[in-house]
Symmetry: C2
Subunit: 447 residues, 2 copies
C-alpha cells in the first residue's frame, strides 16, 4: 500500500482531539488546521470555519454548476480514551497490529472520513474531471452532541447547498460485508415520579393503608406492554409504517441472525414483539424501554420503609412515521390514566429526535449500492439501525437531501471503548469506495 | 407530685445508654448498676446479669409460691440521639416543658419501665402483701435487636418462670386514651434480582430484542396485587384468621379514623384492601410491600441504557396464623412462575418474625383492661399494631405466657427522633397503672 495514505491517517490520529475535555481545546483547533492543510494539499479549497464551539473544516472541489453536488460529512473530534489502563498501546500513538490501526478515533470517525478525503484526492489527482462537485463538512463536536451543527447548517445553507449527502460514521453488518444503513430509529425521553406519603413511612406502622409509590411505578411500567411484547399505549402504533416486503427480505438476508444477537447481548433467551425477528425488532419496530428505576431503600439487607416516592426513566425508540412529540403526548395520557389512587404523578419530558429513513432504492441509494458492490465484490446488506443519529435528521430538515450511510466500521471496532481499531482493509476499500461513489452518483443527471 | 419519683426518672435519663455505640458500653453498665440499686432500694432483690452483650437487670419481689407471678419486661438502652442539632435541649440533660419530660429514652423505654418499677415499689411500701409475685427483666439491647434475649430466656427459663407478662414499650391510640395492644403483625423479607443481558446494553442498538430487567421487576411487582389491593400470591390468605366481630367493633371505636391516618401519612387519598378501613388494614390484614426498587441509570437526565439487572426488596407483614416461612415459599413460587422470558431470577430470603396475638378477652387480658379503666377513667381501646416486636414472640415461645401490651407512649412522643418526650401525666398514671395491674391480676386464681 501507499505509505503516504496510511501516514496521513496516523498523523490525523495523533491529535488528542477530545471535544468534551476543555484542556484539549487547542488540540482540536490544531487538528482542524492540520486537516484544512491536508484537504488543500489534495487540490481542494479549504477553510476552518467558526461554529461557536470547536470549529468545522470545510473543503470543496472546484464548483461546476452543470454537475450535481455531494456533501460528505464527518467529524474530527473523538471520545475520551479513558480508562487508559485498558489500552494495549496509547490511544494517541497509533499502532498497527493484526492489520488493524489501533488508536482513539481510528474508526470513529477519523479513519472513515480520511478514506473519503483521500478518495476524493485521488479522483482529483487522476486528472479527469470529477463526476460531481464535492463539499466536505467535518465538524469537531459530534461526540458532544453537535450542538452548533444545526445553527451552522442554517447559517451556511446556501454555501452548503447539495443534491446528495454521504456519511460514513457507522458500521458494517459483518466484517468485510458492504452495508448501506437506510433507517435509524428516533427517540422520545420521559421521566416520571410517583409521590405518595409526605415522608418515608414505616412499612409496619402504615403499610396496607396507602398506595406504595414503588408499587405504583411498577404498575405503570407493567402497563406499557402487553404479554406479547407490544407497547400497550393506545395509539402508539398508529403512525408506524409497516416494514415493506423488500425490507423483511433484506433483514432476513443480513449476516446477523437471532443467534448472533443472543450472543452479543448475553441473554439466555431473546424476547420482543411477536411476529418479528430480532433484527426487525431492533431496526424496524418501536419500543418503550426503561432506562432506570429507583425508589426506597437501595442498601444491603432490609429496611422496612414505605418510600415516599419512586421514579422511572423511559425512552421510546421510534420508527417512521412516528412523531416524537405525539408519542410523548400519548405516553403521558396513558400514564395519567393508569395512575393508581393516592399517587401524585410528575411527568418530565426529555429530549427527542425524529426517526430517519432514506430510501435505498432511490436513484442515489441505488448508486451508493452499486459503488459498494463494485468495491466489496458483492451486493450490500441493507440495514436499519436501532440507534438514533440526530444530525442526519438535521441535514435532511435543513439542507434537504437524505443522507446515505455506507458505514466502514467493523462490528468489533471498539468505538467509544479502549483499543478502538480500524482494519487497514476497510481504510483502503473506503478510499476506493469514495471514488466509486463519485462515479456512480455522477451517472445521475442534475435535475 | 412527689419530687423523688420524677427525680428517679431524670437520673435514669441522664445515662447516655446508647446500645449501638461501643463508646457507651461503660455507660450502659453504669446505667444497669444504677437501676439495680434503685430496684433494690424499693425492697426488691436485684442483680445485674450477664447476657453476652450489654447486661440485663433482674429484680424480684419476695416469692410467694401461692401467688401468680407477673414478669414485667423493659429496656434501659436507648436509640442514638443524632441529629443533635435538632434537639431543643440536650438529649441526656432531661428538661421539663409543657408538662412533658424531654430526653432521649423518656418514652422509649425508660419512662415506661420506671413507672412500673416505682408502681411496684409503692405497692411494696404500702405494707400490704403483694397480690402477685413480680419479676422485672430489663435488658440493654432492645434497640439493637435483642440478639442475646432469646438465649438468655432459654438459659434462665426456670428462674424467669411466670404466669403472665406485661410490657409497656409502645403507644396509646391517642393522647390520654388508655390502650391495650393485643396483636402485632409478623414479617417476612425477600429480595429479588432480575438479570438479563450480560452487560448494560445500548437501548437503541439492542432495545426491542431482549426483555428489559427493569420491566421484568416492574411486572413481577405489579403481579403481587390485584386491582382491589389484595395480595395476588396464590395461597397468601389461606392461613389468615379473619377479624372477629368484636375486633371490627373495637377498630371502629378507636380514636383513629381514616382522616387521621390520611393526615399522618400525608397522602392525598388512602388506598388498601377492599372491604377494610385503614386501621384494620394496618393491624389486621397482611401486606406485600416494596421497600426498595432499583436498576439502570439513577442520575439526572437521560442515559439510553438497557440495564443488565434490576432488583426489588419486599417485606410481607403477616397476621395470625400466617407462617413467615410458608409465605416466603408461596412468594418465591409466585415470582418464579411470573418471571418473564429471558430473565434470570435470583431470590434471597431475609429475616422473618411470627405474627402475635394475645387475646384481650382472656382473664389476664380482662384484668389489664380493668386496670386501664380504673386509672384512666374509661374503657381502653383494643388495638392491633401494624409493626412487629419480635421479643414478644420470643417470650411466648420460650416462657409460655402471652405478653399484654398496655402502652404508655403518646402518639407525638417522637420516639427514635429528636425531642423525644414523655408527658408527666403518662408517667404518673403509669405508676398507678402498674399497681392497678398487680391488684387486678391478683384476683385471678393460681392454676
Amino acid at each position: 500500500m501507499s505509505d503516504s495514505r496510511l501516514n496521513d491517517l496516523l498523523d490525523f490520529l495523533r491529535f488528542p482531539s477530545i471535544s468534551t475535555q476543555s484542556e484539549h481545546t487547542v488540540d482540536l483547533r490544531n487538528c482542524a488546521e492540520w486537516l484544512r492543510q491536508k484537504i488543500e494539499s489534495l487540490g481542494m479549497a479549504a477553510e476552518v470555519r467558526e461554529t461557536g464551539g470547536h470549529p468545522a473544516v470545510i473543503g470543496r472541489t472546484a464548483h461546476d454548476p452543470a454537475k450535481r453536488t455531494l456533501l460528505i460529512y464527518g467529524h474530527y473530534d473523538v471520545q475520551p480514551p479513558e480508562p487508559l489502563e485498558l489500552w494495549e498501546t496509547p490511544p494517541f500513538e497509533p499502532s498497527i497490529r493484526n492489520e488493524r490501526i489501533y488508536a482513539r478515533g481510528s474508526t470513529d470517525n477519523k479513519g472513515q472520513i480520511m478514506a473519503h478525503i483521500l478518495g476524493v484526492g485521488e479522483a482529483i489527482a487522476s486528472g479527469k474531471p470529477l463526476p460531481v462537485n464535492v463539499i466536505f463538512l467535518i465538524e469537531g463536536e459530534e461526540e458532544i452532541g453537535s450542538d452548533h451543527l444545526a445553527p451552522f447548517l442554517e447559517r451556511y445553507k446556501e454555501d452548503l447547498a447539495c443534491d446528495v449527502i454521504v456519511i460514513s460514521d457507522n458500521g458494517m453488518a459483518a466484517h468485510g460485508y458492504p452495508t448501506l444503513t437506510y433507517a435509524l430509529r428516533g427517540i422520545s425521553a420521559l421521566e416520571f415520579k410517583a409521590s405518595g406519603p409526605a415522608l418515608d413511612l414505616h412499612s409496619g406502622v402504615f403499610g396496607g393503608a396507602v398506595m406504595n409509590p414503588a408499587t405504583a411505578v411498577a404498575r405503570l411500567i407493567a402497563s406499557l406492554h402487553d404479554e406479547d411484547g407490544r407497547v400497550a399505549i393506545p395509539g402508539f402504533y398508529d403512525a408506524v409504517a409497516d416494514l415493506l416486503p423488500w425490507e423483511r427480505d433484506a433483514a432476513a438476508a443480513l449476516p446477523i441472525g437471532d443467534e448472533i444477537i443472543r450472543e452479543l447481548t448475553g441473554v439466555n433467551e431473546l424476547f420482543g414483539e411477536k411476529g418479528y425477528n430480532s433484527i426487525e425488532r431492533i431496526g424496524g419496530r418501536p419500543t418503550a424501554e426503561v432506562n432506570g428505576i429507583g425508589g426506597g431503600y437501595q442498601g444491603e439487607g432490609t429496611k422496612t420503609v414505605l418510600p415516599r416516592e419512586a421514579f422511572a426513566k423511559l425512552t421510546f425508540r421510534l420508527v417512521p412515521n412516528q412523531q416524537p412529540e405525539e408519542i410523548l403526548r400519548l405516553a403521558e395520557a396513558h400514564l395519567v390514566s393508569h395512575c393508581p389512587p393516592g399517587i401524585k404523578l410528575e411527568i418530565t419530558k426529555g429530549h427527542s429526535g425524529e426517526p430517519y429513513f432514506a430510501d435505498p432504492t432511490s436513484p442515489d441509494g441505488l448508486a451508493v449500492q452499486r459503488a459498494l458492490e463494485r468495491v466489496f465484490g458483492h451486493k450490500p446488506a441493507l440495514m436499519r439501525e436501532g440507534g438514533s443519529i440526530p444530525i442526519v435528521v438535521a441535514f435532511r430538515n435543513i439542507l434537504g437531501p437524505a443522507a446515505l450511510l455506507p458505514g466502514l466500521g467493523s462490528p468489533d471496532c471498539q468505538a467509544h471503548s479502549p483499543n478502538e481499531n480500524f482494519p487497514i482493509e476497510n481504510f483502503l476499500k473506503g478510499i476506493k469506495l469514495s471514488q466509486a461513489i463519485l462515479e456512480e452518483l455522477g451517472t445521475i443527471p442534475l435535475r
